[in-house]
Symmetry: C2
Subunit: 357 residues, 2 copies
C-alpha cells in the first residue's frame, strides 16, 4: 500500500462542517479535497479545490467524481451505503462499506459490541407492535425505542416510561425496523475518538466527557472525570471494534459510564463532534488524523498539550462571536453557514487551560 | 469601526503559501477569502472561496475584485503600491499603502527606525558610483550594497569586502537606487512577529531566533537565546514602528543582536516565514491574527503552549514528507506546489517540545 503523495485529491461525500474541517486539515498536508454534496451552498465548498453538486444516488456523477480523486471518505454515516459500494469498485473508500453498514444499523452496532465482549444496554430487535410488547416485557421499563437506521441528534427516538406509551412509541417509528433499549443508569457520557491506519496501526485520543442538551452535544471536556481503568477499557473496546470492522480513518465511540461499568452506546464512522477539542489542544487534530489515515499516511500523535472544554454554538449562540473572539484562552471555529436556524450547529469554541500534571 | 461579521470576504493580493495559510485561517473564523493573483496555478486557489487571475496593474480586474470583498490585504510587499492605492479608494486595505511604501524601500525603512530611536547598521543612500565611493569612505568596509526596492531572500545584494569590489557591486545594482549598509557584528538574528488592530491594540509573539542558509530562512527557534531585556526592547521597537506606520495587521521585524545591542534589519508588512511556528505552538497563529486585524476583530492571544523549532523545506527537502509525518512531535505543513524547484519553499515543519518553565 502506497501512501498518496502531497498533491493527491481526496474525495469527501458530504459538504457540511465536518467536510469543511476535513478539507482544511487536508490542505495543511498539501492534499486537495473534492467535495461531493447535493446542496449548492455547502459550507465545505468555500475551502475545497473542487466540488460536485449532485445527489448521492447519481451514479454518473459518482463515477465522474471517482475518476478525479485518489481516495474517498465521507463526513456522515447517513450517506447511502449503495453510493459507497458503487465508489468502492472504482477507488479506495475509507472507511469502507462494511464499517458504514454496521454504523448505520443500531442492531448490528450493538450486536458487534456484545460479540467483542463489551457491555451495552439490554436491547431487542423490534419490527412490529407485538415484538415491541414482548421486548418490553423482557427488558422492562423505562426503555427507549429507536429506529435502527438514520437516527442522529435524538431524531427517530421515543422514550417509553409506562406501559400506556407502548402503542404511541411504535406508531412514532412509522413501521421502520427498530430497536428497544433498556435505560442505562449512568453517571456520565464519554467518547473515544480513535483512528486506524491502512497498515492497521491504531491510535486513540484521551476519552472525552460529554454533556448533551436536547439530544445534541453541548460540551466535551478533557480530561474526563473517570478512573484510569475506565479510560483504558474504553480505548481497548474502541480498538477491538475498529479491528473487527477493518476500519480505516477516525471513528468515534460513545459510552455510558455507570458505577464503574462501561456501556457502548454507539459508533460514528467518521470524525466526531466530541473530537473538536483536538483542533486546539493537540498538535494533530482528529481531522488531520482522518485525512492521514484515508491517504495511507502514518497516523499522527494523539497527545494533548492542554486541558480543554469544547462548547457547541447552536443557532443564535454564534451571534456571540465577538465576545468569544476577545477571550484570550478561546479558540473559535465558525462554519460559514449563512442561516442560523434554531439548533443548527454554527460553530464551536475550545477553552484551553494549561495541562495539569 | 464595525468588525466584519462571519460570512464576509477578505480579498488577498498574492496566491502563494502565505495567502494559502491566510485563507485557511480565515476559514476557521467563518470568513471567506478571494485570492487575486496573476499565476493560474497559485497554491492559495485550492483553498479559497473565490479567485481572480489577473495582473496587479489591471485596474478593471482590481475594481471588480474590490466590489466582491469587504476588505483587502496582501501576502507580500512587492505588490505594486499603485495597486494598493487604487484599491484603497474602493475598500479598506490593511495594512495600508503608507506601511507598504515604507516597507518597500530600505532607505525609508531604516530612516524610520532611526527616527524612532532604534539602532540600525550605518547606511547611506547610493544613486551613483561616485556616491558609492563616498559612502564606502564614510562607513568603511566590509559593507553590503542593496537595491532599496524589490529585494528579498538575498536577491539584489552585493557584498563589498575590499575596495576593488566597489565598481563591480555598483554594476550589479544596474543603476537602481541603492543603499550601502555597514556590516553589523552580530551574534544572532531574531525577529518579532507582532500585530496591531484597527482599534490600535498591539500584541506581539515572543521573539524568534532565526538561522539563514544562502540568505533564505532555515530555522526559527522559540525561545530565542537572548536576554529578557533584549526581548522587551525588540517588542517595544516593533510597537513604535507599527504605531508610526498606523499599521493594521501582522508585521514582522527582523533584528541583529550583537553584544547586547539590537539593530533593526528590516520590516515585512505581512505575515512572516519566521512566524510559522505560531501555527502549532500557539492557540492563535500569526495567520489568524492577521485576518482578525484585517477584519477589525479583537486580536487573539499571542501566548505559546510549547517550545518549538520551525524548519523550512526547500526544493527536494519536501520529498521527505513521509519520514517527517511519522515523527510524533512534528507538525508538517505542505504548500500544494507541484514543482520542487531548487530553493523553492515547499513547506515547513514545527518540532514541538513541552514548554520549559
Amino acid at each position: 500500500m502506497q501512501a498518496l503523495p502531497p498533491g493527491s485529491t481526496i474525495g469527501i461525500l458530504g459538504g457540511g462542517q465536518l467536510a469543511r474541517m476535513l478539507a482544511l486539515a487536508a490542505a495543511r498536508l498539501g492534499l486537495n479535497s473534492h467535495i461531493f454534496a447535493p446542496e449548492q451552498d455547502s459550507p465545505a465548498f468555500q475551502v475545497a479545490a473542487a466540488r460536485t453538486v449532485a445527489n448521492y444516488r447519481d451514479e454518473t456523477a459518482l463515477a465522474a467524481f471517482a475518476a478525479q480523486v485518489q481516495a474517498v471518505t465521507y463526513e456522515f454515516e447517513n450517506v447511502p451505503v449503495e453510493a459507497v459500494q458503487f465508489l468502492e469498485r472504482l477507488v479506495p473508500v475509507r472507511p469502507g462499506s462494511k464499517a458504514l453498514g454496521v454504523a448505520q444499523d443500531r442492531l448490528k452496532e450493538k450486536s458487534l459490541a456484545c460479540e467483542l465482549g463489551a457491555m451495552t444496554a439490554e436491547f431487542r430487535a423490534v419490527n412490529s407492535l407485538g415484538e415491541l410488547q414482548n421486548a418490553v416485557s423482557e427488558i422492562g421499563l423505562p426503555a427507549v425505542l429507536k429506529t435502527t437506521r438514520m437516527g442522529y441528534d435524538g431524531k427517530g427516538q421515543a422514550k417509553i416510561m409506562a406501559a400506556d406509551e407502548v402503542d404511541g412509541a411504535w406508531a412514532a417509528m412509522k413501521n421502520q425496523a427498530s430497536i428497544l433499549e433498556s435505560f442505562v443508569n449512568f453517571e456520565r457520557e464519554i467518547s473515544v475518538i480513535c483512528a486506524r491506519g491502512v497498515d492497521g496501526h491504531f491510535a486513540a485520543y484521551e476519552p472525552t466527557e460529554n454533556v448533551h442538551r436536547n439530544h445534541i452535544l453541548h460540551t466535551s471536556t478533557v480530561p474526563a472525570r473517570i478512573e484510569p481503568e475506565i479510560a483504558i477499557e474504553a480505548v481497548y473496546v474502541a480498538q477491538r471494534m475498529a479491528e473487527a470492522l477493518d476500519y480505516v480513518g477516525v471513528m468515534g465511540v460513545e459510552f455510558f459510564v455507570g458505577a464503574d461499568v462501561l456501556y457502548v452506546n454507539e459508533i460514528a464512522p467518521r470524525v466526531h463532534n466530541s473530537g473538536h477539542w483536538t483542533m486546539d489542544a493537540c498538535l494533530i487534530s482528529q481531522f488531520e488524523q482522518h485525512m492521514r489515515a484515508v491517504a495511507g499516511w502514518p497516523l499522527g500523535s494523539t497527545a494533548r498539550h492542554s486541558d480543554v472544554v469544547m462548547t457547541n454554538l447552536l443557532g443564535d449562540e454564534a451571534a456571540n462571536w465577538q465576545v468569544l473572539a476577545a477571550q484570550p484562552d478561546v479558540g473559535l471555529h465558525l462554519y460559514g453557514k449563512a442561516e442560523a436556524r434554531p439548533g443548527r450547529k454554527m460553530g464551536h469554541f475550545n477553552k484551553l487551560r494549561p495541562r495539569k500534571g
